[in-house]
């Protein structure tokens, strides 16, 4: 009986190879176009430069995408993160704006706790619809995607709440240890998610549920709890991103905060090599994916093109990355290259493995 050995993955076969190539190409193209792009300087003890900016600006997207990665790994999807971003930012800003001393650290912390609590509730709502009632994830989270925007506007009464709170602003634009605080926060959350999934058995259990739900059930995994949990984690990540985005501008706009971030986050996850069908997930890939998206946006800005036009490039990156990763496309490509490749194994159609003679 032959064993189907995995083709030895070379460097080009590594799952991060193509995403990293794209990222490096983008950075290189920027450097050629604008040599100062790679420069990093120290001003007032803080690091400045285009690369640092990209890191800082990509922090919220990284946060949202991390939560999204876990959701997608279970075979789900969370369309509501943009709304959760808006709601959490709005709640935090509303609370701070109502307090007499907006600069008080205690006030800000209370605001964060309240807003995070609201976000967790929203996440639990999503999780309940998916795991308990059994609604398709894309549909279940669509509800909150639509209604959440309205909730955010309800919180802000349709206006932009402006606050003047230096501790809150710190989250978005502050510095710590020469680095922008946002980068450190993103790093910390990344670390936390990595520890949560890889130091416990959560990661493996998520991958098992997403990879083969029935086999997981028969192995005694309680898939419901896991699914509920990932939607809560996703909402929590979105909440932190919401704080960051509103702190950046010291104001909350229920209408536009976090608009389309769910799409960017899904993109980052897919670019990073996690399959939308669920199963194995790659946090590092997701971060590279988020950096690609932000670099793309920043470069388009730098070239004085309308930021919306960057969507054109984004569309192309999506299609290229998805095509490269699509088995059907690879199969076609291989067939064209010659007969060396074996025919696809029709195991899916077979009832079970056919007995060996």
């Amino acid at each position: 009986m032959t064993t189907w050995k995995a083709r030895l993955p070379g460097v080009t076969g590594h799952r991060l190879f193509w995403p990293v190539v794209v990222l490096v190409t983008l950075v290189a193209a920027n450097a050629v176009y604008r040599p100062s792009f790679l420069a990093i300087e120290v001003k007032d003890g803080h690091l400045y430069g285009s690369l640092i900016d990209i890191l800082r600006l990509s922090a919220p997207l990284i946060l949202v995408a991390l939560g999204m990665t876990l959701v997608i790994a279970t075979g789900g999807i969370d369309l509501s993160v943009g709304s959760v971003v808006a709601v959490s930012g709005a709640v935090a800003c509303l609370y701070i704006s109502r307090q007499p001393d907006q600069g008080d650290v205690g006030t800000v912390l209370t605001a964060l706790v309240i807003a995070a609590g609201v976000a967790l509730l929203l996440g639990a709502w999503n999780g309940m619809l998916v795991a308990v009632i059994g609604i398709q994830p894309i549909i279940a989270t669509l509800i909150l995607m639509v209604a959440g925007r309205g909730l955010a506007q309800l919180v802000t009464s349709g206006q932009i709440i402006t606050i003047n709170s230096s501790p809150y602003r710190m989250i978005g634009t502050g510095h710590l240890l020469t680095l922008p605080f946002a980068i450190i926060l993103a790093l910390a959350v990344t670390l936390a998610v990595a520890v949560l999934t890889r130091r416990t058995a959560l990661g493996m259990i998520i991958e098992a549920v997403g990879g083969n739900a029935e086999a997981s059930r028969l192995a005694g995994i309680r898939a419901r709890r896991v699914k509920l949990l990932v939607y809560v984690v996703s909402a929590a990540c979105a909440a932190v991103a919401g704080f960051m985005m509103t702190a950046n501008v010291s104001s909350a706009d229920g209408n536009s905060a976090g608009l389309w971030v769910e799409l960017d986050a899904i993109l980052a996850v897919v670019i990073g090599g996690t399959s939308l069908a669920g199963g194995r997930f790659y946090l590092s890939g997701t971060i590279v994916g988020a950096l690609i998206i932000q670099t793309l946006t920043t470069s388009v800005y730098a070239m004085n093109i309308d930021p919306q036009t960057s969507l054109l490039f984004k569309a192309m990156v999506v299609i290229v990355v998805c095509l490269i990763q699509a088995p059907a496309f690879r199969a076609r490509f291989r067939r064209r290259r010659g007969a060396a490749a074996p025919p696809p194994v029709p195991v899916d159609q077979q009832k079970e493995q056919v007995a060996a003679p």
């Binding site: 309205g150 939308l276 919306q308 998805c322």
Partner: protein, 331 residues
């Protein structure tokens, strides 16, 4: 062997199955009547027939787009690109008219772009087996990007044909409708006919019911799947033209989020998001429900626009729950 004693036991559908196919649509209809009733009882002006016509006038483009979405959702797919395609069509028309091209040619070009993009997306979905969600997401980005690439600011339309189409009032008794409403009605009729009376339409239902079966039954699954995305593209293009009649301009950021409204209308109209069941009429009801909510909120004056979103979200939840309950009872 006597079959008479066997068949009744085997073959009898119980009585309550009969209307169950239409339950979601009936619920939508009831909801619409209820809301209209509330409107009429609260505001005297609401009973004016023109209010209903205005709902059509203000939501005609959404209805056309939602019809296209109905085709896609009936096959079990989704099309996120519709809002962007609407904007792109309006933008291309405005830009080409500004360049001085004849209106007939502009109309033709504008109506071709959407279906072409839809066709390409359908091909990618079918041949490379990539999820519709991702492919149409890319399509959404592409169309929106193209919009702003053409112009980052709103482009007004002053073409004679366009302004005539925008301003023409067709009188019905004491009330009036616009050209757009007539086009919308024509699209609705054509779509309803296609779904109910053509092989293409029936194949759409079959694929939504069970794609593997459809394939084994020898139906042209690939061709149908590509066709629905093309149809959705065409509907979005028509929607874009109607929107440009409505606003007499092309703007880069118009119709943002319209895909959500369209999906919501389809779901509220009783179409199963998993595909295979639903009617064009339901989608019409769904759009009317959305339109009447907006009208109610406008009439109220004290309620703010965000309540629209919250109410739509609530309705979505209710209808999805209803669908889920029906699916569970089926088992």
């Amino acid at each position: 062997m006597s079959t008479t004693q066997l068949t009744p036991r085997l073959g009898r559908p119980t009585w309550w199955r009969l209307p169950r196919r239409q339950v979601p649509v009936l619920v939508s209809l009831g909801l619409l009547l209820l809301m209209y009733g509330i409107g009429v009882s609260q505001y005297r002006a609401f009973s004016n027939i023109q209010v209903i016509f205005n709902v059509f006038i203000d939501n005609g483009f959404l209805l056309v787009v939602a019809i296209g979405m109905t085709f896609v959702i009936l096959t079990g797919g989704i099309d996120l690109s519709v809002g962007s395609v609407v904007a792109m069509t309006a933008m291309v028309s405005a830009a080409l008219l500004r360049e001085g091209l004849p209106s007939a040619l502009v109309l033709l070009i504008a109506l071709l772009i959407g279906p072409t993009l839809g066709f390409v997306m359908g091909c990618v979905i079918h041949f490379f087996d990539i999820q519709p969600f991702i492919v149409t997401l890319a399509g959404m980005f592409f169309a929106r990007g193209l919009c702003t690439w053409i112009s980052s600011v709103s482009v007004p339309i002053s073409d004679g044909f366009w302004t005539a189409a925008a301003q023409e009032r067709i009188r019905i008794g004491d009330n009036f409708v616009t050209v757009s409403v007539l086009i919308t009605v024509a699209v609705v009729a054509l779509a309803a006919y296609t779904l109910a009376y053509t092989r293409l339409g029936r194949n759409v239902y079959a694929i939504g019911g069970n794609p593997q079966s459809a394939l084994l039954m020898g139906l042209p699954v690939g061709r149908t799947r590509i066709a629905v995305y093309t149809i959705s593209g065409l509907c979005s293009a028509i929607g874009g033209i109607l929107l440009s009649f409505y606003t007499l301009s092309g703007a880069p950021l118009i119709a943002v989020g319209m895909e959500l409204d369209a999906i919501a209308a389809v779901v509220i109209g009783g179409t199963l998001l998993t595909g295979g069941a639903g009617y064009v009429l339901g989608t019409v009801l769904g759009v009317l429900v959305l339109g009447v909510i907006q009208t109610l909120i406008t009439f109220d004056g004290t309620l703010n626009s965000w309540w629209t979103k919250i109410v739509i979200g609530g309705l979505l939840f209710a209808f999805i729950l209803l669908q889920r309950l029906i699916a569970i009872r089926k088992k």
